[in-house]
């Protein structure tokens, strides 16, 4: 028992894809997913996506790293006070290096976390709309729609120059 959940169009040309997006959005289709072998800003713009929130993860990670660095160095030094080289127990200049490195480390890990959570990777199964060609030389546009809307969407896709239109069934 399969149910149609959308339709995917395969494009050979980037401008065709962009046109298809514009047509579909104009046609009231908002649940669109573009698939492309390379990243293109135009696609995001056409789809009207907002700026990625990954940078917030980076910022939070970085701040967390810095605080961890300072806390780690200062707290452990006070916890077991040992004098070395006549320096005070809390030798901030020496601790800056650790703080800096942890800022970077946590920032990078935060970024990675941001990427993984936002981009929904890793995933075990590829999407139903996926076609290996999308990683090679073809662009795809997956229109999420009900079975009633399939024909309209297909029309629009073809109209924009899709080489191939395929129904996606769940």
């Amino acid at each position: 028992m399969s149910r149609v959940i959308g339709v995917v169009g395969v494009f050979a040309h980037l401008d065709d894809l962009l046109e298809a997006i514009r047509h579909l959005r104009a046609g009231g289709f908002e649940e669109l997913q573009a698939l492309s072998p390379i990243p293109r800003r135009e696609i995001d713009e056409a789809l009207g996506r907002r700026e990625s929130p990954v940078r917030v993860f980076t910022l939070v990670g970085g701040i967390l790293g810095g605080v961890t660095g300072l806390f780690l160095t200062i707290n452990t030094s006070i916890g077991y006070p040992l004098i070395t080289g006549g320096k005070p127990i809390v030798s901030i200049p020496a601790f800056i290096v650790i703080t800096f490195e942890l800022t970077i480390l946590f920032g990078a890990l935060g970024t990675l976390l941001g990427l993984l959570t936002n981009a929904r990777v890793p995933r075990l199964h590829l999407g139903l709309a996926f076609d290996p060609r999308f990683c090679s030389d073809r662009f795809g546009l997956f229109v999420h729609c009900t079975s009633e809307e399939v024909e309209t969407a297909s029309q629009l896709l073809r109209g924009a120059g899709a080489e191939e239109v395929r129904h996606v069934e769940a």
Partner: protein
């Protein structure tokens, strides 16, 4: 810019994935030779662990010698990868696309090699984990004032970030490979692709994350070799205790790293017939960067001597006099000539556009940069404050074997990389190609 014959996406896929096809006899012979050297190095290391560091040539007062030389050398090699992949990315330098994957791989493998040496050089390597930040016996933590702990943090962070960067960059390519591979390779690439499909959502977050990783990696790479240089500069050893060490080391690291990338790219390009992707133009750009770093390094050498002379400090001046004229003068002159004089040959366009010259000079720079670290470490320690404790270092078979083993270790990974991963980023090459438009124009 990728030039040559008319390239399309499919062509690029085909050309670049071809490097991953089953290897020939030459490859396996290389691999075998490499593994033999590696095993010999491991045997030497085991001997050292079992018998004690005394089997190496290390002695009083030269307590650090070629193990730390190797450490600094390999960390330095790592730097060019990040420079090319992160800094040039931020500056939107277009020629990076074809070379950055290899450079990044060099970074990761060089760090994997460098990371061994702090352990190799320990007197009791079985306690290396005491350097890690965790609560130890009696509630004691490591000493965060020690530059060696800074090193642990810096190198560890660098290793993690480089790997994240490397694998992140690899993911879309892995998707390409996955889709074209069969059997266990499909499984492997499928795993590495992590379910990549190239959706707009994935791409949007991916480009953002990649940008931030590059932005983080840039200060990181500068900090790492600065921290490594502080291993020396924070001490009070004449010849080490100098404020110019951080920039001097960073420049030196990039210098050696670029040379290593050239050294590796040239055979790679030839073996895999990638002339269309790694063109003379790419190599020339690398050579131009080498001129820059070579000039900085040469300037640093002069500055060091100037400071030593101008400070009128007996200890400092003796250290530098000894460098140029003492027992290790040969190493010093190798360093001066190979690192700062020979790269000036790249000012001649004919030489920097000639592959054999490029290859030869890049190897000389590698040698020169290795000796730079050797000279800094060994000559300074050999002549410190107390003349009664002056001494010499002569390497013995164990030190040399472990050093050889470390090169084998690095090349083992590089050989595997060359055969199992795309040595040129497919996606970024595609990005550089004209986008396919209906009008057939550049997008």
């Amino acid at each position: 810019m990728v030039t040559g014959h008319q390239l399309g996406y499919v062509q690029a896929d085909r050309d670049l994935l071809k490097t991953m096809e089953p290897a020939g006899k030459l490859y396996y012979m290389l691999l075998l030779a490499d593994v033999v050297v590696l095993l010999w190095g491991i045997y030497a290391w085991m001997t050292q662990i079992y018998t004690g560091l005394g089997v190496s040539g290390l002695t009083h007062p030269v307590m650090w010698a070629i193990y730390i030389t190797n450490f600094v050398f390999w960390v330095g090699i790592a730097h060019s990868g990040t420079l090319i992949s992160a800094i040039l990315f931020l500056f939107r330098v277009r020629w990076r696309a074809s070379v950055y994957r290899t450079a990044e791989a060099v970074t990761v493998f060089a760090l994997m090699t460098a990371g061994l040496f702090p352990i190799v050089h320990l007197g009791r390597p079985w306690y290396f984990y005491w350097l890690l930040p965790y609560k130890q016996m009696g509630g004691l933590w490591p000493n965060f004032r020690s530059p060696l702990i800074w090193d642990v943090f810096a190198v560890f962070t660098y290793m993690i970030v480089s790997m994240v960067f490397f694998f992140t960059g690899l993911v879309p390519d892995m998707a390409v490979a996955r889709d074209q591979a069969k059997g266990w390779r499909r499984l492997l690439y499928g795993f590495l692709a992590q379910g990549w499909q190239g959706t707009d959502r994935q791409w949007r977050h991916y480009t953002s994350a990649y940008l931030f990783l590059a932005a983080l990696a840039t200060p990181l790479v500068i900090s790492v070799h600065s921290v490594v240089s502080w291993d020396f500069a924070m001490s009070m050893v004449p010849g080490w205790h100098s404020t110019i060490f951080a920039p001097y080391f960073v420049a030196g690291a990039i210098h050696s790293g670029l040379a290593m990338v050239i050294t590796l790219l040239i055979p790679l390009r030839r073996v895999f017939r990638l002339d269309a992707y790694i063109t003379q133009w790419h190599l020339e750009n690398l050579a131009k960067l080498v001129i820059l770093t070579g000039l900085i390094v040469g300037y640093s050498y002069v500055t060091e001597y100037f400071i030593a002379w101008y400070s009128d400090n007996t200890f400092e001046w003796e250290s530098f006099r000894y460098r140029a004229l003492g027992h290790y003068a040969w190493a010093f002159w190798i360093m001066i000539i190979f690192n700062s004089l020979i790269p000036l040959l790249f000012f001649i366009k004919r030489l920097r556009t000639s592959t054999p010259w490029l290859f030869g000079i890049s190897i000389l720079i590698n040698i020169g940069m290795w000796f730079e670290r050797f000279v800094i470490i060994v000559t300074s320690l050999a002549r410190e404050y107390d003349p009664y404790s002056w001494g010499l270092y002569t390497p013995r078979w164990v030190d040399l074997s472990i050093t050889a083993g470390s090169f084998a270790w690095f090349f083992l990974w590089f050989l595997l990389f060359a055969k199992f991963l795309p040595v040129i980023s497919i996606v970024e090459v595609k990005e550089e190609l004209p986008a396919p438009l209906k009008a057939g124009e550049t997008g």
